[in-house]
Symmetry: C2
Amino acid sequence: MSEDELLRWLRTKIDPCLLGDDAAVLPAGGPVAVTVDSQIAGVHFVPDLDPALLAPRLLAVNLSDLAAMGAEPAYAFLALSTAPGFDHRRFFRALIEACRHFNVLLAGGDLARSPATVATLTLIGRRPEAGRFLRRADAAPGHVLWLGGTIGESAAGQRLIARGARLRKGRVELPDDLVAGTLLQGAARRAVRRHLSPSPQLALGQWLGRQEAGAAMDVSDGLAKDLRRLCQESGVGAEILADELPLPDRFSDLCREIGADPLSLALGGGEDYVLLFTLPERIVPAEPGARKIGRITRSKRIVLRQDGERRDLPDLGWDHLRSSGAP
Amino acid sequence: MSEDELLRWLRTKIDPCLLGDDAAVLPAGGPVAVTVDSQIAGVHFVPDLDPALLAPRLLAVNLSDLAAMGAEPAYAFLALSTAPGFDHRRFFRALIEACRHFNVLLAGGDLARSPATVATLTLIGRRPEAGRFLRRADAAPGHVLWLGGTIGESAAGQRLIARGARLRKGRVELPDDLVAGTLLQGAARRAVRRHLSPSPQLALGQWLGRQEAGAAMDVSDGLAKDLRRLCQESGVGAEILADELPLPDRFSDLCREIGADPLSLALGGGEDYVLLFTLPERIVPAEPGARKIGRITRSKRIVLRQDGERRDLPDLGWDHLRSSGAP
C-alpha cells in the first residue's frame, strides 16, 4: 500500500478536515496539557506484537500522563515509523477504536518507514471545567501518599512475554515450560494482559483535580524512581510502608516462579500506569483499588519501612537512556 | 549519562516549569495549528550525521509545515529515541539554540533508547493576529501558482551525501572523486548545505495568511506529488511550465555530473521545504526567490508544458511507505 492509498483509506475513517493540510487546526480554548510518548519495537514491546495491541497500548500509555494531570483527553497526533511488512490498517483500525472509546480525536500525524517500528503519540488534553491541572510539586508534609492500583504486575508480565508468553485473539498463551501445571497460570495471564493493555486512570485523575490540594503523577518508571521525582518537585520526603504496597493476587508466588524479587519488581519494574498521588488526611478517594502507602514528610529522605526497620528507598527503576530496569 | 542526569542538565537550559510534570500546561489562547514529523536514521539522514545538525534540521522540517499554514511557531515537544553513543548534550544545545532563533519554546518530551535514532517533533503554532490559517483547499481556477524558492537542490544534496559528502565544522567536504576539479564544487556544496539546513519560509507563510485568497502547502515530497495533493484538496487542476520551474544555479550541470535527470529531481526529489502557493493574479509576493510556475485550472488535469508540448505531470515523488523517490 502506498502512503496516498493509506491516507485515502484513513480519510474514510477519520474526519477528513483534519488530514488535508500540513498541520491540524484546533479551535480556541482554555489552557491545555500536552504530552508525548514513544513505543519502540525491541525496547517497549516485542517486535512481533500485534499492531492491534500496539495501537491501544500507545494510546493508554499517553493517556496515563493526561490522567496524572487531571486532564480530559481531546486530540491525538501520531508519528508512525514502521518496519517492512507492518499492517497499517490493522494498527489504525485499533487506534481509531481506542480513540473513540476515550473520546480522543486523531487529528494528524506523519508516516515513515524505518528499520524498527517506532510509534510516537502526542496528546492534547483540556482542563475539566470544575478542575485544576495536577502537578508533581503540590505534595506537602502530612499528606497521605496513595497509589491508584497495584504495582509490579506489568513488569512481571513483561518478563513472561520475554520468555514467550503472547496475547493472541484475546487469549494469553503461556509456553509449556512457564508456570505450567501450577495454580499460578491465572496470575501469569493477568500479568501479561496488564502489561499489554494498561488502563489509564483518567476518572481518578479528574477526581483528584477537583480536590483542593494534593500532587499527582503516573507510575511509569517504577515507584522508587517516580516517588523520588515527585518528592524532588515538591521539596519534601516520604515514608512508605512495604507491607502496604498494593500487589496483585499471588504476586509473590508468581515472582518466585519467574525468579524475580517481588519487592524489587514492585518498586522498580515500571510501566504500572497507576497514579501516585498525595491528599490531605481528610480526603479519601472513592477509587476501589486505591491504597494508602505512606506519608509525605518534611525531611527530604525517602524511607522504606519494612519488618520494623527503616531504610532509604532503594534506587531502582527504569532509566530510559540505560537498559537498567528492575532485577 | 542517565536520564535523570540529562533532565537535570536540561533544566538549567530550559524553563524548568515546563519539564517537571507528566504533561506541559500551555496557556489558554486562540486556535492553534499542530504538526508532527519524524527524522529517522538511515531514512531521512545518514546515521553518522552530527546531532548538532540533526536537531536544527528536525526543527526546520517541522517549521516548514507551520509556514505552510501561515502560523507563528510557539511550542515544541520532542520524542527522541537514540542509538547507543548518541551525544544528547550536543543535540539539545543545538535544538535549544535553533528554538530560540525561531522563538519556539521547547516545552516537553520523551527520551528512549532505540536500535536506530528516531527524532519526532510536535510543533504548536498560533494564528497571527491579522492573519488566517492557510489551507490546501483554497486554490481556485485562475489563481497563479507560485513556488517560494528553488526545487531539486535538496535531492541533489542528498545524493551527494549518499556518495560521501559531509558537512563538518561548518564546511562541506566532498570526496575526491565527486565533482572534483570541476566548476561545480560550489553548486555541490550549496546542495549539501541546502539538504542538511533547510530554511522554513515562515515570513512568506505569514504574509500569505494576510492576503484575502489563496492556498498553500510546503513541498516536502516533491512538487509533482505535493501539487497533486493541493489540486485534489481544492478540486482543481493545474498547468505548469517546465521552463519556469525555479532551479538553482548550475543545477543541470550538477545533475549531469551525478547522473540524475534535472527535471525528475526537481519534480520528484522532495525535501525542498519551499512553499507552493496560489494567489489571485493581482497579488504578487515580495519574496525575492518566489517564482510563478503556472496557473490553477478548472479542468482537474495536472499538465506540464515543455518545449511546446503538453503532457500529464509525471507521477514522481517521495512515498513515505515505499522507498520510491526520484530516479
